[in-house]
Point group: C2
Chain length 404, copies 2
């Protein structure tokens, strides 16, 4: 054990650290990114690499433009109005929200065309959505059950507000929505009995298709699922409804669904960040690694213990790194270093043969296994360009409280 | 599919819901618990049952008093100053913190005797801890590496502050701390060279012992581990240090460690809430189910989809219910109902033979598999007595920003 200063400095302490603290004392208080770099962001921290992120935003927008489709990206991935604004600037029709607080944060940030994609059957939440529609009348809900329709209709009537809705159709995901075909038509007819509600189209999420490994198998799965939604939209239109919209798709199926006739817009989410869960599904042309979009999201952690020769501890455990998938966080630039769960507060890094252990004080970026729930663990994203922090974006839509 | 109002009302809609929304519109904004009950808390929500919670707080305090030990409960479990205050009122010596933001939130709430149990080697965090010590000089840190000692010493000298520290000893957990015996003594001698730092004792967490299934096996594991810490404390005292404190233990080993000579205080955390991960370890007298403390923590969710006869969806997925352990959330009062992961936003409930599915709009409380990371997903706890919300407690120490 090194017990004198010279020894432990030599043992891997960045000498700069020792005199640097005075300059960085106040940054956490005022969230001023000035002078913040990857060397002094407090860890654990959520980082987005702006070059990769901007490339992803642009790339998806271009794909949709070339394919003649709209896109309404999903905020469940990022919960961040600053990111939503950039997606809108790239040409998005609006932004999807999975929760009422997400919808509230987006509307508060001036986003138009917000679509709540999840069912809600709590009267208070219905009332909050009606308040949003009153404020911004391009806000829409997707509905899949008569209860939601009744609650929505009563609240809309009481507020004197007209509400646009999509019929949420369950095309195999088995989590939300009404069954396609005749049941969806009957639900549309039920909606039509409520004069404040107006059907704009159909929504479908083929969650079971989005992560199918191998592009051909995924194409088959998504085409089969989206076909049901296309047919349902046609049935509605033949029955006199104006179902202009068919909103669906995912980052895994964006270049499949954009070739399906009748799909009008994509609800892509993860493409802004990417993650290990998507990388492994394989691309159309890129083989085993799905590389259409770049990894922009990482968690930055610090090595805080190096007592044992076979491992070190970092300050990012299950509260800081989502490990609910089968995949492990990947240490960027540290080949042969394996992340293992070390409880709620810590991760344990171990070695493959020939690899090198980091030293105490070292800072390591991890590519996250699954972006959505990982973002949800944080209050803010440090937006970096190179090593420098350019901005700190609040993950405002994470909050449970209404924001307007 | 029920498409007329009478049918779907009959099909399980609580009729009250339809007219109730006007009364509940504003509650989310002002966090006023008045008129909030389990029937209208917005879901998903984190709930603590006050009767069970108060019983747990009292029970642990009485055990420690009878055993002649102190207790410094761990805030990593609850991150909630309101709970810390109640633990202090029950006689705690102080409160443990796993992160600097936790320590900051506790000191801001007037808690004395805060102990940071995790290592920190970031200069800015060290400076923040020194600011806390300056404000409240009973605040302590545990240290396990010369780097932390150097940083702490420099910051303390610059601020003109004396800092009490515990030597963090690794007794088999292999995550933090210095090895027991001679390495710990050498570290203490290194600390002694820094005049602003004062050794108050030793800290050890036998995380590998806390969840050993079976009381006898757990006792053996914890005694063996804590023995190393006791011996290290004795070595320090023989060598001229005043190591008055030996802080350690967990909810799983509280009634083991409190019988180990030399252990002065317990760092118990989960006992205020309990969870499935602790229930299964078995009690000293209660057999397979560890029932020394009551389950006070639940997640409240709403059934938002009932399209299929074999399942329903609730609005609590991986963002709302921690599923990083091997155990599943348990639906309170719904025997034979199984929670399955349904992605980030939803849980899927399926049935064992003979059991009954809930209906759309039903609200279900789930006992959580693992309390600490589950709390960390939320901003607030609804404190309930019976069905009524008595208070809403901010999970203030969850925030990344400093709070003072």
């Amino acid at each position: 054990m090194p017990v004198n200063r010279r020894e432990f400095l030599a043992a891997g302490v960045a000498a700069g650290l020792l005199t640097h603290w005075e300059n960085t004392v106040t940054f956490a208080e005022n969230l001023d990114p000035t002078n913040l770099t990857k060397a002094n962001i407090p860890t654990p921290a959520l980082l987005v690499d702006l070059e990769a992120f901007e490339s992803n935003v642009k790339s998806m927008a271009e794909h949709c433009r070339k394919s003649g489709r709209g896109f309404r990206p999903h905020a469940k991935t990022h919960k961040c109005p600053e990111i939503a604004k950039r997606q809108m600037a790239a040409g998005a029709l609006g932004i999807c929200a999975a929760t009422v607080p997400e919808a509230e944060a987006l509307v508060a940030a001036g986003i138009t065309g917000v679509l709540l994609t999840s069912p809600i059957v709590e009267p208070a939440k219905i009332a909050r959505m009606i308040a949003l529609v009153k404020r911004e009348n391009t806000t829409m809900l997707s509905v899949g059950h008569p209860l939601e329709i009744e609650l929505l209709s009563q609240a809309a009537a009481a507020a004197g507000v007209d509400v646009d809705v999509l019929v949420d159709v369950d095309i195999g995901d088995r989590r939300t929505g009404i069954l396609p075909g005749q049941p969806a038509l009957e639900l549309a007819q039920f909606i039509a009995k409520h004069k404040r509600l107006h059907i704009r189209g159909v929504q479908s999420y083929a969650g079971h298709a989005s992560h199918v490994v191998g592009w051909e198998a995924r194409e088959k799965s998504s085409r089969e699922a989206m076909g049901k939604s296309v047919a349902t939209r046609e049935l509605l239109n033949k029955s006199g409804f104006d179902a202009d919209i068919l909103s669906g798709g995912s980052t895994g199926t964006y270049n499949i669904d954009s070739t399906v006739d009748g799909v009008t817009e994509l609800q892509v989410g993860s493409y802004v960040f990417m993650d290990i869960d998507y990388r492994r599904i394989g691309g159309k042309t890129s083989g085993e690694n799905y590389s259409d979009f770049q990894h922009s999201l990482t968690v930055l952690a610090t090595v805080v213990n190096a007592t044992h020769p076979d491992r070190v501890s970092v300050d990012a455990g299950t509260k800081a790194l989502d490990t609910t998938t089968n995949w492990k966080p990947e240490a960027k630039g540290w080949p042969g270093l394996n992340y293992n769960r070390g409880g709620d507060e810590f991760g344990i890094l171990t070695l493959e043969p020939g690899a090198k252990l980091p030293r105490i004080g070292d800072r390591i970026e991890f590519i996250v296994p699954h972006c959505d729930p990982n973002v949800s663990l944080y209050d803010r994203i440090y937006a970096t360009r190179g090593d420098k922090v350019e901005a700190i974006w609040p993950i405002a839509a994470r909050r449970e409280a209404r924001t307007i």
